[in-house]
Symmetry: C2
């Protein structure tokens, strides 16, 4: 049924992206509107329903389902957005019921990290495996799990939380208030802090030429590329701890694949190289043997494609 289409929605703190996706995971049309998160959840989802209607009206085929990734904790069965740190006022917002009053196709929603994992599993770097972890490296470190070929959500939809795995008890402070989480080293803030610490220790680096307020992960990438020792060592240390955390997951779940995406992953082998070393040191023989670490394939499209996949019948 190639003339069926699915609507995928990727709700972020800044934009609502919407797209028409075919059942091979191809985006045939996409658009976005500002989230206007400060105006509250009713405003957001009311405008989203209009976006959905526009997509549907413009589709040159039947829209057979609508799926959505949202930046927070989801009760998938009830279709409720439980909480979302970047969407003020959201507290158990009944997304599915709210949209049902406005659109006559049911909307399925899930956490955005799960949706990205689903997208990569169905149409990207995770194709063909039963057990995988998708890691998203950005401001934060996100995770989504596919076990037995399906999104694994756990008891209350909270599963897949990789970023706050503690790999260094009493280690660096994380944005979440804990110490030693992998995000405290590999997240944007952690990388920039590590640079700052090295500069404070008097290490020489081209990064000293950028004021600390203006320094971005992109600058680290550029400096590392140009041979800057501080930038290279910061990536190396962070990557090594990322690898240890990945090894922990592989030992616990005997995965087949770890897919790595997100902005910081753009640093590529500068961070993935040391991660592979940390992983190989940590993974037990059986975990090591069964697993490959690969870059994500879908980029930013994973959110839209995965959301649309949520609405597709299980193959």
């Amino acid at each position: 049924m190639n003339n069926e289409l699915f609507i995928g929605i990727d709700l972020g703190g800044t934009d609502i992206k919407g797209g028409l996706v075919d059942n091979a995971g191809k985006i045939v049309f996409e658009t976005k509107i500002p989230t206007e998160a400060k105006k509250g959840p009713e405003h957001i989802f009311d405008r989203m329903s209009q976006l959905i209607q526009t997509l549907r009206d413009g589709a040159e085929a039947i829209v057979a389902g609508i799926g959505m990734g949202v930046p927070g904790q989801v009760d998938v069965d009830a279709g409720v957005l439980v909480e979302a740190p970047n969407l003020p006022g959201v507290d158990r917002f009944p997304v599915m019921d709210f949209l049902r009053e406005r659109i006559d196709i049911p909307v399925i929603l899930d956490n955005d990290a799960n949706v990205a994992a689903l997208g990569e599993h169905a149409f990207g770097a995770g194709q063909g495996v039963q057990h995988m972890l998708m890691i998203t490296l950005g401001t934060g470190v996100g995770g989504g799990l596919i076990l037995n070929g399906q999104v694994f959500r756990g008891a209350m939809g909270g599963a897949g939380e990789f970023g706050h795995m503690v790999v260094e008890a009493d280690g660096e402070l994380c944005g979440c208030g804990r110490q030693g989480c992998v995000e405290a080293y590999v997240g944007t803030a952690g990388l920039l802090r590590a640079v700052e610490q090295r500069l404070s220790n008097g290490e020489a680096s081209s990064l000293a030429g950028i004021s600390s307020e203006k320094r971005r992960p992109k600058d680290l990438g550029d400096a590392a590329e140009a041979g800057d020792t501080v930038a290279r060592e910061v990536f190396s240390t962070a990557g090594h701890l990322l690898g240890i955390a990945m090894g922990n997951v592989a030992n616990l779940l005997n995965l087949e694949r770890i897919v790595i995406g997100g902005g910081v992953a753009a640093a590529g082998e500068r961070i993935l190289g040391p991660a592979r070393v940390g992983f190989a040191e940590t993974a037990l023989k059986v975990s090591l043997k069964s697993l490959e670490i690969v870059p994500a394939q879908l980029g930013n499209a994973a959110g839209l494609v995965g959301a649309a996949r949520l609405a597709m019948p299980v193959l």
Copy 2:
């Protein structure tokens, strides 16, 4: 069908235990023979087949199935014991095929940690939940996972490996050769090393009266009970790191229950108290809310009962 019985076999490095178990998880008869591990796998499994025959002959009901827990990595579908550190000469030993030539009921086998988790899930402290981790604290630290109500084995049967989760990068050396694994702190050797380190630092303790070669975890428990500060702090530090590791798992899998068994768990709240604190510090809100930490209920019987459960039809 209460007049059906199941044979459970618990193969250890020292003994082969065998039992007749009813479908309510009650052991109606049990016995054991020495493993004689040094004589190699053919010898072990040949004698095991005789044990099974004896159990079957003595059963006052039909034996409807045979399940077995083994101390190593298992290819469950093929019925092969891939490797077993405490059983010399085992290298992809075809247990199922070997026994099929001797007994006309198929034998199902799995790793002993998975089997214990299954036993506790079906008939002990894990009843009624979909997602749980069973941790066994002893010489080593073992783990078995139940996800979606079933044993989760991962890609090659290696899942559930909790003991070698790294919680302290570059931390204490573990028996596995890695650094900072939870077992390096909570396993028997780790606990004893921590005592030794404190005594070497000149800390006063009743444990100094026992030579280091003769010191056992039981002595730590007794000393802690009698108010010894060193013993109490060793349990407290180990328990805290155990709690962090449990929090990591809870965040990744959003579990409903963690069941703790094994010999060291006999230290009870001396180790579980600090573990609860470390857990609460590490677990995210949703992980914390959904989960309870409970002691195992079946004790040593978990191995036999879980093995028998392997052979029971899925309810």
